[in-house]
């Protein structure tokens, strides 16, 4: 499977659309345990990303992803801006000068993105953050790669792991981010950041499925 610049652009556009679609839901998830802004901030960021995309559409995949990341850092604000921004920037840095990607390179980029989020947010798994969704997804991809599993099936299992990880945040006690100030009252709510991460993973899977067909 070859992943091209066009596929990456399609993926980013798809994420922007998916975030817009779930904007109010992300705001609602953020109300009981945050400050009711996650959906609005993400939508503002990805709407600006859509404006910027045409200016880099003929560039390499690394440049495109770095531009997405820097735009998110500049427009999202809150914790999500630096976290998602760093994720895209790190993924872009891992793919410098590449116009086509192999599945192995996608895994390398996702690993770099996860490491970037952890370095910026200093969160560990089990703290009710986006790491709890993204972490298991990256684990599945790495393990599948080691076992020589076909990429398409690995992606499906990976996104299922992201979804499960997202749901696993419901019973968790938040110890990072604004939700942590609620103490026990953070239990019983799904983390908004883990939820937006799941939507991004979902679009990634759909993009890859589109190539496959």
């Amino acid at each position: 499977m070859r992943i091209t610049v066009e596929h990456v652009i399609k993926f980013v556009e798809g994420v922007a659309a998916r975030i817009k679609e779930h904007r109010d839901e992300l705001v609602q998830l953020d109300s009981p345990i945050g400050d009711s802004d996650h959906g609005v901030n993400m939508d503002r960021g990805f709407t600006t990303v859509l404006d910027k995309l045409p200016t880099v559409a003929d560039k390499d995949i690394g440049t495109i992803l770095k531009t997405v990341g820097m735009t998110l850092v500049s427009t999202v604000g809150g914790a999500s801006g630096p976290l998602y921004g760093t994720a895209f920037i790190r993924a872009g840095m891992a793919l410098t000068d590449r116009y086509e990607l192999t599945p192995a390179e996608v895994v390398v980029a996702l690993e770099a993105a996860l490491e970037g989020i952890q370095a910026r947010g200093k969160a560990q798994r089990g703290e009710k953050t986006m790491i709890d969704a993204i972490g298991p997804g990256v684990d599945v991809l790495k393990e599948a790669q080691a076992n020589g599993e076909e990429f398409m099936s690995a992606m499906r299992r990976s996104v299922a792991a992201v979804e499960e990880g997202m749901k696993s945040t419901i019973p968790m006690l938040a110890t990072k981010g604004r939700a942590s100030y609620l103490g026990q009252r953070s239990i019983g709510h799904q983390d908004p950041g883990a939820t937006s991460s799941f939507y991004i993973a979902q679009v990634m899977l759909e993009t890859v499925e589109g190539i496959h067909e």
Binding site: D37, P82, L83, G183
Partner: protein, 333 residues
């Protein structure tokens, strides 16, 4: 939702334009990236003092830009941290050659965005230091949370450090004073009502007619616990008790007592609370050396109040008394 706005998306920009229209003698408003800067910035040879955070806490921080306090303030969207571009542009705008101090309230987003801005500023050869305020004693277990939130102390610290910078203190000295004020200050707040973020359209939490939320932050987020509403005297004990025990403040101490309204609290109620606080501190043998009563660090239209106490010594008292000339705080100037 009933608000005096044109559209939820335009609230921050419209308010910035209002500040520009009202206070052009003191400040200049810069757009895209948004920041409010002292009209005479950069002041040559003076340490630049910058703060910033989500909007909705007015007059903090934009109302504190001016002589003797902040050189610039970076407003984010309502209750959302500003982005690094703003802090970087503001840092450059106020750099008078003596370095720039970032005053950051301890919230995950604010800390990360200011960190990124400081990294970018350092890469451009600017001398930047940062201090993080974390005075909210309502956060009981900082090990299992993102740490104590920065609340009321931020206002007092900005005034004192601004005075030090105005008097010629260098960057290291400004940072030392900022850390000292933060270390000697503690706060706790409560809410009678929730508040509604314009783009959310609904209150951040529900409170019954006879309920209050104790241990709130400043973002319309719920606090540590709900309680039945009680008298001003009882609420004063609920807030002041944890503050006094935490530092701890002791018999013989002199403090700056700050009774802050959350945005929707009548001044008459703040004076009722101040009276209770003064009685309680007198009983404990603590002297109120200076005070500040009013709504300075708010959560939109939330009704409620917070107390902040800072232990005073000669140095801090002198810095507090120094002239200040900003849209929201002005004396001696």
């Amino acid at each position: 939702m009933k608000k005096l706005i044109n559209a939820p998306e335009g609230v921050v920009k419209d308010a910035l334009a209002g500040i520009a229209a009202a206070h052009s003698d003191l400040v200049t408003v810069h757009y895209d990236p948004d920041y409010i800067v002292r009209a005479d910035a950069p002041v040559k040879g003076k340490v630049g003092i910058i703060s910033g955070g989500g909007s909705g806490h007015e007059p903090m921080h934009g109302g504190f830009v001016g002589r003797g306090m902040l050189d610039a303030a970076c407003p984010g969207a309502v209750f959302t941290s500003p982005v690094p571009d703003q802090m970087l542009a503001a840092t450059k705008a106020v750099d008078g050659g003596a370095g720039v101090l970032h005053i950051v309230k301890n919230y995950t987003g604010d800390v990360m965005n200011f960190e990124m801005a400081a990294e970018l500023a350092a890469a451009e050869g600017l001398d930047v230091a940062a201090v993080v305020t974390n005075d909210d004693v309502a956060v009981e277990n900082s090990t299992w949370t993102a740490g104590r939130r920065g609340v009321g102390v931020t206002v007092l610290l900005e005034k004192m450090v601004g005075a030090a910078a105005e008097a010629g203190a260098n960057l290291a000295e400004c940072k030392r004073i900022a850390e000292k004020v933060n270390a000697q200050g503690r706060s706790m707040g409560m809410a009678l009502t929730a508040c509604t973020v314009p783009h959310a359209g609904k209150p951040g939490f529900e409170l019954g007619d006879d309920e209050m939320e104790v241990g709130i932050g400043i973002h319309g987020e719920p606090g540590r616990r709900k309680e039945k509403l009680t008298t001003a005297a009882n609420i004063t004990e609920m807030l002041a008790g944890p503050i006094l025990d935490d530092l701890p403040f002791q018999r013989g101490d002199t403090v700056l007592a700050f009774v802050n309204g959350m945005g929707g609290t009548p001044q008459i109620e703040l004076y009722v609370m101040y009276n209770e606080l003064a009685k309680l501190l007198a009983d404990r043998g603590i002297t109120i050396g200076r005070n500040l009563i009013g709504s300075y660090i708010t959560s939109l239209e939330m009704a409620g109040c917070s107390f902040t106490l800072v232990k005073l010594d000669d140095e801090l008292t002198k810095l507090w008394d120094a002239p200040v000339l900003t849209p929201a705080l002005r004396w001696g100037a």
